[in-house]
Every structure is written in C-alpha cells, then in structure tokens.
C-alpha cells in the first residue's frame, strides 16, 4: 500500500460535497493561483509552521533538537521552525516537544491504512447524511498513486468519494482517478488558456483539455453500463480582477455549454433522472480573504491585497450569465 503526504484531516466538513464529509488535504500543488486558500499545501514536503504569538520561551524546542542545541542563547521565537529547519536531521522534534503548539508540523506521511482509519471513524455520519470523503489539497492528483489507493479503499468500504482538482495532470492520470472516484469537483479558473496560464503559472490548456475529457467520460459512463466515471461538477472561483469580467464569465459559460454532458447524449431508458439534466453543474465560489491570516503566519505576502470580496449582487450577476445559457448553477459549494 502506498503512502502520501497529508497536511490536514477535517471532519464534519460541510463545503466539499454532499452530506457530512471528512476532507483529506493532500500536500503539493504545481499551480500558484493568487487566491489560493492553502498556500501551505503547495509544497509537497512537510514543513514547520511557526506561531511566534504562542511561544512562551520555554526552550523545549531547543532541548529537543540537535541542530539548535549547539549554539548558546537561541531565541526560539526566531530560530526554531524556520526555513533552515527543513533539512534538520531531527525534523519535527521541535514541534512535537513544544507544549504551546507554537511550532506545528504541517504535513505528515501517512499510509493508506492510517488515513482510512481516520476516514472510517465517521462512517455512521456519512451513511446518515449521504456524505463521504473529499480529497482536496494541494492538488490531490499530484499524489495520484496514493489518491488512487485511497479511492479504491473507500469504494471497497462503500464510502462516497469526491476529489477536488484543478485538472492539472497527465490525461491518463486524471481519467484513471475519475474512474475510481464518485464525484470530481473540477476547478475552472479561466476559460482562456493564456489568461489561465498566467494566473496559475502552469500551461492551462492541460486543465481545459482534461476538463473536456472528463466530461466526455462522464457523459459516456452515464449511458454505458460497466463504464464507471465520476460525476463532474465545475467549481469556478469568482475573483475580482482575475476572472470576473463579464466577457470572461461569458466565455466560461460558453465553454461549459459546449462540454459534453449527460444530458447531451439524450435521455436513455432507465436513466431518466440523469438524462434530463442540462449540462454540467456549476458552482460559483465567491472569493473571500479569510486566508489572509494564513499567509501572514507563513511569512508570505498576500497576493490579492486590496481585492474586494464580491457582494451578493455581483455573484447574482455572475450566476445569471450561466443561467441564461441553461446551465444548472449555484452560488457556493
């Protein structure tokens, strides 16, 4: 069984799919979207987060660490858990020793069994609520082998799975994951490849191509027995100044309309409910700045300083653009 780098497990997760869910955050993401909520999830390696505000100066970290123990008069507020510590032979010992949780180890190598143990704890709540597990990140596809094993393990347990992805992966990887998951939340950052690439720092045509491929697979799976593929829901963050211009939203809506969907193949006997759906469902997620504090903690500059959170009217206007094309759309996840 594989193992992977997990940087958070959140139970009673309510914004990441139907019902009561557990969200597993897989570390590592090749994109660098300026609105990213989990900047600590970009790097694929474990890291240490310093919370100087919590430090009580007890020097427990210093005592626990062979690198820090040497020099006299170490100031734990400044020196423990810093960038230099990433290569420390005692990596993480300082955080484990810290009573005040002023140094936190972010990212833990977990086996599938360990992760599944946490996932299974809330089984009764998934069953009562129609919930399950959501794999998010980071970009979960960047740990595709681990993710695939987790999806299989969940399926074996009868637990519903969702994967939140930017779609940035080799197409065969994405499609393989799509076959092993129940639901894909597929990010659409921008309809134009050039601007999308500019925003995300990767070749965005890969993402759009994968989106089309995933929707194609999902549409076929809906009509063909024995050809499983996850449902696809498109999630588009609405970020003022980045992708919320009327023309940009129109282009996004046009892209969605053109995607193959379960409805486009025509209603099939025995699958009327799915056959009547019009296009792929879209969730519009209003940008918000609640991650600002996190950037500060990590000593990172906040890339969207000054960006205003879109108000209800603005979100409704965005929604209307999609609605006008007959797309099933809602605000929020």
């Amino acid at each position: 069984m594989s193992s992977g780098m997990v940087f958070d497990i959140r139970k009673f997760s309510v914004h990441d799919g139907p019902g009561i869910r557990t969200a597993l955050f897989l570390k590592g993401c090749p994109l660098s979207c300026p609105w990213c909520h989990n900047p600590e999830g970009r790097d694929g390696q474990a890291a240490l987060l310093r919370r100087g505000d919590r430090c009580i100066g007890c020097l427990s970290c210093v005592k626990a660490c062979s690198s820090l123990r040497g020099p006299a008069a170490v100031d734990p507020r400044r020196e423990a858990g810093g960038p230099a510590c990433l290569s420390c032979p005692d990596f993480g010992a300082c955080g484990r020793a810290c009573p005040a949780q002023a140094i936190q180890e972010v990212g833990r190598l977990m086996t599938v069994e360990e992760a599944m143990k946490a996932v299974l704890q809330d089984r009764v709540f998934y069953e009562e609520s129609g919930g399950g597990v959501t794999f998010t990140g980071g970009e979960p596809l960047s740990q595709a082998a681990f993710l695939g094993d987790l999806l299989d393990a969940c399926r074996a347990e009868g637990i519903h799975t969702a994967v939140e992805t930017s779609g940035y992966a080799r197409p065969e990887v994405l499609l393989d994951i799509g076959r092993r998951a129940d639901l894909l939340f597929f990010d659409l950052k921008h309809a134009h490849v050039a601007r999308g690439s500019e925003l995300t720092g990767v070749d965005y045509s890969t993402c759009i191509g994968n989106l089309e491929a995933a929707c194609e697979e999902a549409a076929c799976a809906a009509t063909e027995q024995g050809r499983p593929f996850a449902d696809v829901i498109i999630r588009m963050p609405i970020v003022p100044g980045s992708n919320d211009g009327a023309a940009e939203l129109e282009a996004a809506a046009e892209l969605v309309v053109r995607l193959p969907s379960r409805g486009s193949g025509g209603a099939q006997a025995g699958k009327p409910a799915q056959g009547t759906r019009r296009g792929t469902e879209v969730h519009l997620l209003p940008y918000h700045d609640s991650a600002r504090g996190k950037y500060r903690l990590w000593g990172l500059g906040y890339p969207l300083e000054g960006t205003v959170v879109p108000d209800e009217a603005r979100m409704a206007a965005a929604r209307d653009i999609f609605m006008a094309r007959g797309i099933s759309v809602r605000i929020g996840g």
Partner: protein, 795 residues
C-alpha cells in the same frame, strides 16, 4: 402570533418576578391551628385545600387558560414548611443584580411577624441540618457534593395520559375502593394507608374547589361586562372559561380546551402543594392532546389557529410561574427563573408506534414564536420519528434559542426496560427536568444532588486532604508518595469516591425518610400509579417504580486529568507527580510549559481517541461500581429503590469549578469543570462528529441521563443542507447509542455584544445546561463558560 397572544406574551416576558408571602401566611395560619390534631398526610391535604379555597385567584384580561400559583402572574409562592427565608434572604432577593424577585415591605413584615417566628426550628431544612454528621458537613462545605432536599422537595415528575381519561371524581372512586379494600384484620399498615388515602381524597376535593372558584369568578366578570361588541366577545369567552372550569378537573376533559385547562389545574395543584424540583411536566403533550385536536377539528369546534392560540395560552401560563427562590447562602447567588417544565414531543406510543402528530408541529411553532423561558420542549427522536419532525425541530434549533433539545427515544426506552420497567410504561416515559429519564406518571425518580468528580481526584492526589482548607475531609490514601504507579492512583480515586458517596447517600437516605414522614404529597400521589392502589405516598414508595440518582459532574475534566497523569507521569515520565502537584498548588504559576504540555499533549475526551475514551469508560465504570445498585430505603420490601447515576451538571459545574483547584488537565483553579458529559471546554478539537463518537463509547443506558452541549456557528448550519446535516448528525449520534444532544447556534461576536449591551439582547436565549436561559440573565461566570465552549464551524 395573534394580538391576544402578543399582549399576554409581552406581559409575561416583561413583568418582573415578585415574591409573594400569601402561601406562606396561609400555610402558617393553617399549621398553627391544625398541627398535631390530624395525621400528617391529612394535615398536608387539608393545608392544600386551605390554599385552594383561600388564595387570591386571578383571571387576566384576554386569558383563555386560567389559574396562577401566586396571587398574580409572575408572583412566586414560598414554602416555609420546607425552607423558610430569613428577612435577609428576602432583602437579597430583592436587591441582587441578577434574577432578582421584587419583595415588598409588606411581604417582609408578614415574614417577620407571622412566618419566621412559627417556622424557625420547625422547617424541614432546620430539622434536617440539626442532625447532620460532621463528615457530611466537611465534604458539603468543601464542594464535593450538593444536596437537593435542603432547598426543595424531591421532584422531577411528569405525567402520563391518565388525567385526559379520568377526572378527580373518578380518582375519588378509586380512592374509596382502595380504602374499602384495606385488610384491617391482617395489614399492620392499615392505619397509615387509610390516612394517606383520606388525604388523597381531600386533595381531589381541593382541586375541584379551586376550579369552581375560577368558574364563579369568570361568570361574575362576564356579568360585569357592559354592552358592545368587544365586551360581548369577552363575556362569551369568560362564560366558556366558566364552563370549562366546572368540567375539569372534576371530570375528564371532552375537548382540546378542556384538556389544556385540565393539565394546567393539575400542574398548579402539584406546584401549590409542594415545590418539587423541576415543577411539573406534562410528559408527551402531543400524544395526549392529539385525539382531542383531531376530534375538535373534525367536528368544526376548533381550527388550527384556535388550537395554536390555546396552546400559546398554556405556554404563557407556565412562563408566569418562575422558580421559587432559594434560601440561605444560595440566595446570594443568582440562579435562573426557569423551573424546568419540559414538554416531550415525538417519541413512541405505548404500542411502540411513532407518537408524533399535528400537535407536535403546533407545539414546535408555539415554542419558536413565543421565545419564552418556560416551558421548554424536547424531541424524543426514535428511528420511527419522521424526518419532517426532526427537520422542523432543526429549523427551530438553528434560530439559536437552544431548544428543543433532542433525545434518543429508543435509547431512553431501552434504558428503562433494562431497569425492569414494562416496555409500555417505558415508552410512555421520556425525559423531564433537564435530561432525566423516567416512566411518566408511574415513577418517583428523585435526584439528590451533584457530585464533583474532579474534586474527588483532588482528594486522591492529596491523601484525603482538601488543599483549599488543609483539612482532611476524605480518607487516607497515602498521597503522592504512595501513588507509585497508575494503578495505585486509580485505587486511591476509587477509595475517595466510595467514601464520599457513602457519606452523601447516608444523609440523602435520611432526608428521604424525613420527607416521606413529614411532607407527604397526597395530591401528587393521586396522579402517580400505583399510589392509590398501595395506599402509599409518592415520597414513600407508592409509585410503581422508584429510583434515586446522584448527578456526577466533570466526566471530561476528570478523564483528561487521569489521561494526563497516565501519559506524563507514569508513561513518558516527563514530569513527576510531585512536580505536578506543586505546580497545581501554585495554580501553574511558573509552570506554564508544564500546563500547556498537559493540556495540549494529552489524549483528551471528545476527539474519538480510544486512548482517552477508554479512560472515560474506566471513570464511568468506577462510578457505576461506587453508586449503582446501592440500596435506598424507599419502596416496598422486594421493590426497593436503588441508587443510580446520572451525568448532568445543570449549572453546578461552575460552582464546583470555583471550589476545585487546578486540575492535571491544565485547567486553572476555580474555572468551571466540564459540563454534563460534554468534553472539557476546548478539549475537543476534531469537530462535532468526534465528540459524538467519544461520548457514544460510554454506555449511557446504564444511567438516568447524559448531557451533551454543542455550540455551532450559524454558518455551519446554513440552508436546507444545513438542516439535513444537523438531522443526520443527530441520527448518526443516536444510532451509535447517544442519549441527548442540544445546540447553541450563536457566534462569539453576538455573545460578546450581548455582554456589552445587554439591553439590546434582552431576549437572546442560549443553552446553559439542560435548559435555555436568557444570556443577559446569566452571571459573568456562566456567560464566559458558554463562550469557552468549542465553536463547531463545519469546515
């Protein structure tokens, strides 16, 4: 809410509670004349009749359901035969900043001249305290436990459906039959039984007389009204009231209006006779009223709106009856106006079918619209409860007032069946008071006081010495030098617990006998099976089932404390017991690193962590060993009551916290200990599902109740999906065997704002313990305690 209900609600909401000496004066006069001339049960019944015949009666403008305990709405009676307020108590009640009661100079004069001189040395409390062993006093004063019966009569009573099938006239026939069946040739208890039955008969008469006075007053008021449309309308309402009061409680009710008035007269009777804890509760009100509602609707006598109006009138009546104020040192502490009437909705009928009906929804609507302190309601959620009802309840919960609370009906029934109750009686039972399980109309399940578990651990760590006073109040268990391994600490905890419980139970049993002998409750006994058949009082084992409870507080704090010691002292050995002990004695001054290590690096209860949760299971089983099954003197030979545990704290975790030093879980001295069965404040860090999982590992069906408080941020429960999630959460928890859960849905900002500007948040209801209270009526300790509960966000 129509105009009538709005006005009555506003009156009830805004009238300041007042203290009335009326009952005390009438009772004093009566006792002075009759004490010693008749048997005690008959004396009690005659006093009840004296009150029913002579107290001032009240029919307010626009009221449809009538009757007050005091001379006017929100006027609270006192019970000097149990506990007699001193003049100083009364002045404190009037002047204290929180939950005060207006006390006029006239009331004080009555007390000074009539009431106090007679009852000094005669009241139950004076006599009970005159003969209390020193070891009990030492433990009581140190804050190891409280004693319910030093303030009020034993209670927690709820009714079954019999008063909707039988009136007082029918009960009198049953009583006559029981008297005629007495075997004077062979039964040595015949005299006692006959006196008790005679007393019950007088009590029935009294209740009829009380209603008759209201009928006459209503007729007089109708006759006095002049011409005009509005006056005519009120006159016909008053004549209808008179008609209803002539029917009930003498005879069984025939329609919805009579059924409500029947309940209210019975409720008033029981809380006039004595001041049992938690007043009185109607049990499954929806189940009982359902048939009347359906019949009236079919016959056109009533429509949905009229039924709701009548229900609202009952609600307001209950709210008009604040809790009787306490006496002695506790008079200085603020408490609550809530007297804990708790209505059961949903659940099962006697045959085991879903008992919910349209009245369940009506009650929820009334609860939601009136936003009053009393009565509060709970939903008994069984696997058979329709999703529609649970979701309707979830919508009310989301509004943030903290009610209704939710109980697992299937677990409640199983718990009672496991205690030997018939399945039918168990199903007709449910929850009264805060979270207490009982067979309604058939059981005397008496709560005797709270037990401070963290303080027991404090004794175990200090060789039986209370670090606060330096006195040895527990047993010698050796202290830290003798606690060389975790097993020896467990043994010390067990020894201190056994000792404390032993002292507590001995005195409680004594008080139990004192109430049976000197304060029988013949009217209440009429209402509870099988008091009539056995010719025995409710307080003397007349009920079909009898149970005694100790409410154990601080499961979370004591579990985390033991877990911390096991890990840090005995397992990883990063501190010694001596270091820990010294740090706690200094309230962690200079030992912040140790305190944080204990708090943050210990497996703690509430995180679905087996290491901590097995510790909670050990605490729980140790409590069972120390308490469960201890004999109680109440009840017939062979059917004696036994002692059991209950796991609620009401607000006592704040008081116990004040009396307890720092604890090994990193808690600072004097802060509240954990409440009910909730995790220690802030210990739960894995969300609400993990809390539920941890708690479900404790076999609550062996107790009389548990209490889980959860605080949610409103954002976690938004939209229809939020309602579904809340319902699913509850179903999941109950599927695991959970017993009870209640929610505060309020953000921190709102609570802080209410602290700053109480006048703007006068009606902000929050869940305190097993009940909701107005946030601005809570003292600062309680407010902070609610704020310190982990806010579940939904991530």
């Amino acid at each position: 809410m129509n105009e009538r209900i709005m006005r009555l609600r506003e009156e009830s909401f805004s009238t300041r509670p007042s203290f009335s000496a009326e009952r005390a004066v009438l009772t004093t006069e009566f006792y002075a004349q009759w004490l010693g001339r008749v048997s005690t049960p008959v004396l009690r019944a005659m006093n009840f009749r004296h009150l029913c015949e002579n107290k001032a009666i009240w029919i307010g403008e626009g009221e449809l359901i009538v009757g007050e305990r005091g001379p006017r709405p929100r006027a609270v009676s006192s019970f000097p035969e149990l506990t007699c307020h001193s003049e100083e108590d009364l002045r404190i009640l009037d002047s204290r900043p929180m939950t005060s009661y207006a006390v006029s100079e006239r009331e004080i004069l009555d007390y000074r001249e009539k009431v106090i001189p007679f009852w000094k040395g005669r009241s139950m409390r004076d006599r009970a305290f005159a003969d209390i062993p020193g070891e009990w006093k030492a433990l009581y004063e140190a804050g190891l436990f409280t004693e319910f019966m030093e303030q009020r009569a034993p209670g927690h009573t709820a009714l079954d459906g019999k008063i909707y099938r039988k009136g007082m006239v029918d009960f009198r026939k049953d009583i006559a039959l029981a008297r005629s069946a007495l075997d004077w040739a062979a039964d040595p208890e015949c005299l006692a039984k006959d006196e008790e039955l005679k007393a019950m008969d007088i009590a029935c008469e009294a209740a009829i007389a009380f209603a008759g006075r209201h009928a006459r007053l209503a007729e007089e008021m109708a006759a006095a009204l002049g011409e005009g449309e509005a006056q005519g309308r009120r006159a016909s309402e008053l004549r209808r009231i008179a008609e209803v009061c002539r029917r009930v409680p003498a005879e069984a009710p025939r329609d919805f209006h009579e059924a409500l008035q029947m309940y209210w007269f019975v409720h008033l009777g029981t809380i006039t006779e004595l001041n049992g804890w938690d007043a009185m509760s109607p049990g499954h009100l929806d189940l009982h009223l359902g048939p009347f509602y359906e019949r009236d609707l079919a016959s056109g006598k009533l429509d949905r709106a009229a039924a709701k109006e009548l229900l609202s009138c009952l609600w307001i009546k209950v709210n008009n009856t604040p809790a009787p104020p306490k006496v002695g040192v506790t008079a200085a502490e603020s408490g609550t106006y809530n007297d804990f009437t708790n209505i059961n909705l949903g659940g099962l009928d006697r045959a085991g079918n879903d008992a919910s009906n349209e009245v369940s929804f009506l009650c929820l609507e009334v609860l939601d619209e009136l936003q009053l302190l009393q009565p509060q309601a709970n939903i008994q959620v069984s696997a058979k409860t329709p999703a529609r009802l649970l979701e309707a309840a979830a919508r009310v919960i989301r509004r943030g007032s903290g009610y209704p609370s939710l109980f697992n009906a299937d677990e409640v029934v199983a718990a009672m069946a496991g205690m030997g109750k018939s399945l039918e009686d168990a199903r007709e039972g449910g929850t009264s008071g805060c979270v207490e399980t009982g067979a309604f109309g058939k059981e005397a399940y008496l709560l005797h006081g709270y037990l401070n578990l963290p303080k027991v651990l404090e004794l175990a760590l200090n060789d039986g010495i209370d670090p606060d006073s330096g006195k040895r109040i527990g047993v010698r268990t050796g202290g830290i030098d003798a606690l060389c391994d975790f097993e020896s600490l467990k043994a010390a905890f067990r020894s201190e617990l056994e000792y404390v419980v032993g002292v507590k139970v001995r005195v409680s049993n004594r008080l139990d006998r004192l109430f049976a002998r000197d304060a029988p409750a013949p009217f209440l006994s009429v209402l509870i099976d099988d008091c009539i058949g056995q010719g025995r009082d409710y307080y003397d084992g007349g009920a079909r089932y009898n149970t005694d409870y100790i409410q154990c507080c601080g499961l979370g704090t004591v579990t985390d404390s033991l877990s911390a010691i096991r890990k840090h002292v005995y397992s990883s050995a990063d501190c010694t017991l001596r270091e820990l002990s010294l740090a706690m004695a200094e309230d962690w001054n200079g030992a912040e690193a140790l305190r944080l290590r204990l708090a943050n690096q210990t497996p703690r209860f509430g995180n679905d962590d087996d290491e901590a949760d097995t510790m909670a299971q050990w605490v729980f089983s140790t409590l069972l060993e120390a308490i469960d099954g201890r004999p109680s003197p109440r009840g017939l030979p062979g059917k004696r009551s036994t002692w059991r545990i209950d796991l609620l704290s009401t607000t006592c975790h704040v008081y116990f916290g004040l009396r307890t030093g720092a604890t090994p879980d990193g808690r600072r001295a004097h802060l509240p200990i954990s409440d009910g069965t909730s995790p220690a404040q802030g210990a739960d860090r894995n969300g609400p599902t993990a809390v539920a999982k941890s708690l479900a590992k404790v076999d609550i069906s062996k107790t009389g109740g548990s209490l889980l408080n959860l605080r949610f941020l409103p954002s976690a429960l938004q939209g229809e999906e939020g309602i579904k999630r809340l319902s699913a959460y509850v179903r999941g928890y109950f599927k695991l065997g959970g017993h009870h859960v209640q929610f505060n849905v309020v953000d921190t900002q709102t609570l802080r704002d209410a602290q700053r500007r109480p006048e703007d948040h006068r009606d902000l209801l929050v869940r305190v313990a097993g009940y909701s209270d107005y946030f601005v009526d809570l003292d600062r300790n309680h407010q902070e305690e609610i704020l310190s509960r982990t806010a579940q966000e939904g991530f």
